[in-house]
């Protein structure tokens, strides 16, 4: 297992998509903070306002806490989708999956290794976004006051849960990318999946209770409610954790089963 993980890690750090996402994440942070700064200074024209959702004054530290508590679900899913499309489906496009499978490694381990690497890589890209967001905010607005222990606790909990949800997203992305076997098809399939489960079911949930329940117990709903964590909503954390874990087990399990039956 460790040999496979090391090899996957080596491939990740030599993969263009990983570094491209790191750069894109940094650029997005710079663009966002620049817009906020220009808005604050009144340099932007009146029609454009940047919603930060924050009541207190903007500083590097407040932005750090904010980005840890309320990360953007779509970006996270997009990062996982892009990574798995190029990293997992790309192995089929290059044919290199044959080299891995013919080594006699168990297919279960091969798939789980890929899932772990996608999971870790998505967390790294998100962390880059958080850190660059903090850095650019500090440059524009100063560091501000150091967050309190309570703020750190909420941020830590939120980030831990976000990591679990990233695991669920990575499980879905790895499974679908393995089925798609082609990077372009995988990206479309994953974005389609996101649209159906996030937006499509959200719309249907207004009319049908069954979809409301489905949405409530999907990882796509929890991300937008993550900020409720500090409001002490009952059972919210346990429901979020169990939903994420069930999603991981379900999609990684399905991925392994399909991979074991797949002709390469």
């Amino acid at each position: 297992m460790m040999n496979g993980l090391r090899a996957e890690g080596y491939k990740l750090f030599h993969a263009r998509i990983f570094w491209a996402l790191i750069i894109i994440a940094s650029f997005l942070s710079l663009a966002m903070t620049s817009l906020i700064y220009l808005d604050e200074k009144g340099i932007l024209i009146e029609q454009i306002t940047v919603e930060t959702g924050m009541e207190e004054s903007l500083t590097g530290f407040t932005m750090l806490i904010e980005s840890l508590v309320e990360p953007d679900a779509f970006f996270i899913f997009l990062f996982a989708a892009l990574l798995s499309s190029f990293f997992v489906a790309g192995e089929y496009t290059n044919g290199t999956i044959k080299n891995i499978v013919s080594t006699g490694s168990k297919r279960l381990i091969i798939h789980v290794n890929k899932f772990i690497v996608i999971w870790g890589a998505t967390i790294l890209v998100l962390l880059t976004m958080v850190l660059t967001f903090t850095l650019f905010s500090s440059i524009y607005f100063g560091f501000g006051t150091f967050p309190t222990a309570a703020e750190w606790t909420v941020a830590g909990k939120s980030f831990g849960l976000t990591c679990l949800i990233i695991g669920a997203y990575s499980g879905i992305a790895t499974c679908l990318a393995m089925i798609a076997r082609n990077a372009a098809v995988a990206i479309f399939a994953l974005l389609g999946f996101y649209l159906v489960f996030s937006t499509g079911i959200d719309m249907l949930a207004y009319r049908y209770t069954i979809f409301e329940d489905l949405l409530r117990y999907s990882v796509f709903d929890y991300m937008r409610n993550l900020s409720l964590l500090d409001e002490g909503i009952d059972n919210f954390v346990s429901r979020l954790v169990s939903t994420a874990i069930v999603t991981i087990v379900l999609f990684v399990g399905a991925g392994v089963l399909l991979f074991q039956r797949k002709d390469i």
Binding site: A7, Y10, N94, V101, S102
Partner: protein, 306 residues
């Protein structure tokens, strides 16, 4: 030498109702170079893919290094190096980085094996050049290097000389011979270039329409190969008429270049020479010969298709 490394029993592969490989009983002996020959679409690659574990067997069994159960066979695959359906490489990496991935994957200690393998296949000077800029021949060599990296006991190479230049072909032939003779590596090599397989292989398996129609040693092929007289005359049509009428022989073949292959009078070519000469045919060449692997293969395949 009598140990069997690969043994398949009724190995069959079905896609839906269509059987692409039927009841293959293949025996590959330790230290041998097994030439796997067949037309395009005959089922060579499917057989090799089943042996390498890339696809499941629909029916039948595979025995690898005396392991017969599924788990044991999969474990035995760690002793195999394979290049199936062309070289599979990471185009954005260098040759060394491609080998590093395989080294880590297989848990091979030390990095010396990478330099050694690159030298073996003649790619030691590629430096930081990305694989995407490699020629087809270089990619082929790197694919073989990947298969060789773990010093496998069984090497499976599917069309390994595709894209190699003439010098590369000779070098590859020598490398495979050295691996077999000096290191005792068992090699299964599939190729549509029959003369190349003939130069390398010690054993042959001939597959046609998914069936293994012949399995034999090089010596057996030489014994079975039909002898013939290779005849070239100034007037081909007249020569053919004389063969049919005066020599009463219909077992001949006229090739596209005008050469006549006469499968009779092999022990007594003087009779042919005399009769043709007496009837005013000038003989340009008259040589007793043996069928090559190509001829033997063609006859077998034609026979199997009838």
């Amino acid at each position: 030498m009598n140990d069997v490394i690969v043994k398949t029993k009724h190995m069959t592969k079905k896609y839906g109702k269509h059987k692409v490989v039927k009841d293959i009983n293949m025996h590959v002996q330790k230290g041998s170079i097994y030439g796997f020959i067949g037309l395009n679409g005959a089922g060579k690659s499917t057989c090799l893919r089943m042996i390498a574990g890339l696809t499941d067997v629909s029916r039948g069994t595979i025995q690898l290094f005396n392991e017969t159960n599924k788990r044991g066979v999969n474990e035995a695959r760690k002793r195999i190096g394979a290049m199936i359906e062309g070289p599979d490489l990471y185009p954005h990496m260098t040759a060394r980085q491609n080998l590093e991935v395989v080294r880590m994957q297989r848990g091979i200690p030390g990095k010396d094996c990478i330099s050694h393998t690159l030298k073996q296949v003649g790619l030691e000077d590629t430096g930081k050049k990305k694989v995407r800029t490699f020629s087809l021949g270089m990619k082929q060599r790197l694919g073989i290097a990947i298969a060789l990296l773990s010093s496998p006991e069984l090497l499976i190479l599917d069309e390994p000389i595709n894209g190699l230049d003439p010098v590369g072909v000779v070098e590859m032939r020598q490398l495979l011979k050295d691996l077999s003779e000096e290191h005792g590596v068992t090699i299964i090599i599939s190729s549509h270039i029959l003369t190349e397989v003939y130069h390398i292989a010690t054993h042959y398996g001939i597959i046609h329409h998914g069936e293994l129609i012949e399995q034999c040693t090089r010596e057996e092929i030489e014994e079975k190969s039909q002898a013939y007289i290779c005849l070239r005359a100034d007037d081909r049509e007249k020569a053919v008429t004389i063969i049919e009428e005066k020599l009463d022989e219909k077992n001949y073949e006229v090739l596209e270049d005008g050469t006549i292959k006469l499968y009779a009078y092999v022990d007594n070519p003087k009779v042919v020479s005399r009769v043709l000469h007496e009837n005013g045919v000038f003989i340009e060449e008259l040589t007793p010969k043996h069928d090559t692997l190509e001829g033997y293969f063609t006859r077998l395949v034609k026979g199997a298709s009838v």
